[in-house]
């Protein structure tokens, strides 16, 4: 497997270094321990938002640090949650006194490390609230699993909660908005190829040339089932049906439709996916109010895509459309 890297041990540090230099107008990076904060942090009087997780999902999360979205991102090793130390250091760097909201994807490692960091931050006098994102319908949410995973819907939670914090909402209100976005968001993904963690040097899993994995997570961890490759429209049908049934979405709903690439799928294919998803929503009487298409929550070089649908209301739509200025999302400012 060819990769454009130096020593696998230095992948995260070198990438964060480049990111911080490229976007020095937006962010400042620290390296011992590693975290990224808004260049103007802490922002006086504003609730601060922090997220993080394993690296390899870029632009998530550092690409969403800036005005109207996150105050801090904490990248761990590739596909490995950060430890509590950098999460605590970043929390202290962004806290203006208005409190800190943790946005955490529901993976066991992320949840445990952010939980520990929250306890440490509270001990230092910072008020912390946590919202767990679990938008992935591929996993059964029951006593018999670790629960649904947090996947592409995380971007929507970070953007909309970030806008709420930017307009001046207090900590409880921002946490309530984040919780509402998560509750109204559903996602499901597909992988066409595996991905290769740099230090492992070989694929995390294998798929035959004519096989795809339906219900993939964002680390290449398997999902619902492995099937023969099908035309794009049929795959979209397989992803969207469980999403629509789950909330459930209904005729007359207005939604945000987000087609996310896993890193190795070209835009031309993502728009083929979007086209079919939009057709299906229209056929179900569901109106697409807002669209987002691109590689935002990736899994290294994996080929594949996920579909995310968020049921909008006027407030959420207004917050989505509010100005944002980050490396990966930028409008209105």
């Amino acid at each position: 497997m060819k990769k454009l890297i130096n020593d696998p041990k230095n992948v995260v540090e070198e990438a964060v270094t480049g990111f911080a230099v490229a976007h020095a107008d937006l962010v400042t990076a620290s390296f011992d321990p590693i975290f990224v904060v808004r260049a103007d942090a802490p922002v006086a009087g504003k609730v601060a938002l922090i997220s993080g997780g394993g690296s390899g999902h870029e632009p998530l999360h550092a690409g969403f640090v800036g005005f109207g979205m996150l105050d801090a991102a904490v990248p761990g090793a590739v596909f490995t949650s950060p430890t509590p130390d950098p999460i605590l250091a970043a929390t202290l760097a962004i806290n203006s006194g208005a409190g800190v909201l943790q946005i955490v994807k529901n993976y066991t490692g992320d949840v445990l490390n952010f939980e520990t960091a929250a306890e440490l931050a509270e001990a230092e006098g910072v008020t912390v609230r946590t919202v767990i994102v679990d938008d992935d319908v591929a996993v059964k949410d029951s006593l018999y699993t670790a629960g649904r995973r947090g996947v592409a819907g995380t971007v929507l939670v970070e953007k909309i909660a970030g806008a709420a914090a930017q307009r001046g909402d207090d900590l409880e209100a921002v946490a309530a908005i984040a919780t509402r976005v998560n509750a109204q968001t559903r996602s499901m993904g597909v992988a066409l190829t595996p991905c290769v963690v740099p230090h492992a040097g070989e694929p995390s899993f294998t798929l035959a040339d004519d096989e795809i994995e339906i219900g993939i997570g964002i680390h290449g961890e398997p999902g619902r089932e492995r099937i023969q490759l099908e035309p794009a429209d049929q795959i979209v049908d397989r992803l969207l049906a469980p999403i629509l049934e789950d909330l459930p979405f209904a005729s007359g709903d207005r939604v945000l439709l987000f087609v996310n690439g896993m890193g190795g799928t070209p835009q031309v294919e993502l728009y083929i996916v979007y086209r079919r998803a939009a057709e299906l929503l229209a056929a179900n009487g569901i109106e697409v109010g807002v669209s987002l298409v691109g590689n935002f929550v990736t899994s290294l070089e994996m080929q594949g895509a996920s579909i995310t649908v968020l049921k909008l209301d006027p407030e959420l739509e207004e917050l989505w459309n509010a100005p944002v200025q980050t490396a990966a999302l930028r409008w209105g400012r």
């Binding site: 394993g54 090793a77 949650s81 490692g109 490390n113 939980e115 018999y144 492992a200 961890e221 398997p222």
Partner: protein
């Protein structure tokens, strides 16, 4: 040998060695039903632990050494294993705090506290195909050995053997916690990586008695 700070340090050094030796095996197991980073993460943590062994003060107790392992693992491992193993060592340290030499009752208290700490953090139960499936039989075997009047080394041997058997018994299970739980029945036939590393650490405690 007496289970004092010399033994504790030997246990920790052997733990770092054995994790390093099995780094690739642990990652291979994790790739099958997890996300393929368990060996790498544990090795990063225990390498840092090995480096810090020399910094322990001359009058450090076994509890002090175990606490150093805990804070180092929490700070360096990441993923789920960092908080879980870190909590295990932290609770183990608390169970024997201040004791200069550990007797059989101390060992059982230490193992029990470690297991209870993992359960508290991870909320897993026996049979969920997690490291608990190594720890719970180990605790029970150690307690049985203590009740039967066995010596300290025999208690450690009983714990290690039970952990190894418990780990092997995860093969046919469907996972109910952690990443492997997403696989459903596809996890059957694979061994839980956290139970394997747990058994390695308990075996290192036995081997350290002959150092």
């Amino acid at each position: 040998m007496a289970l004092d700070i010399t033994w504790t340090k030997a246990w920790i050094a052997r733990s770092a060695d054995v994790i390093s030796e099995h780094r690739t095996d642990l990652t291979t197991l994790d790739r099958a039903i997890g996300d393929g980073d368990h060996g790498e993460n544990m090795d990063r943590g225990f390498s840092a632990v090995a480096t810090k062994l020399a910094d322990l003060s001359a009058d450090a107790t076994p509890g002090d050494a175990l606490k150093m392992v805990a804070t180092t693992l929490i700070s360096t491992v990441g993923g789920a294993s960092g908080p879980l193993f870190g909590t295990a060592y932290l609770k183990a340290a608390g169970a024997v705090a201040g004791h200069e030499e550990l007797d059989g009752a101390d060992l059982v208290a230490m193992l029990t506290a470690a297991r209870d700490g993992i359960v508290l953090r991870g909320k897993a139960e026996p049979g969920d195909k997690t490291m608990i499936d190594a720890w719970t039989p180990a605790v029970e075997a150690a307690a049985t050995a203590l009740a039967a009047g066995k010596d300290e080394v025999a208690i450690l041997v009983a714990a290690a053997e039970a952990a190894e058997a418990g780990s092997a018994a995860t093969d046919p299970l469907v996972a109910r916690k952690g990443r492997a739980s997403y696989l459903g029945e596809r996890a059957i036939g694979h061994r839980d990586p956290g139970s394997v590393s747990s058994a390695l650490l308990l075996r290192a405690a036995v081997d350290a008695t002959t150092d």
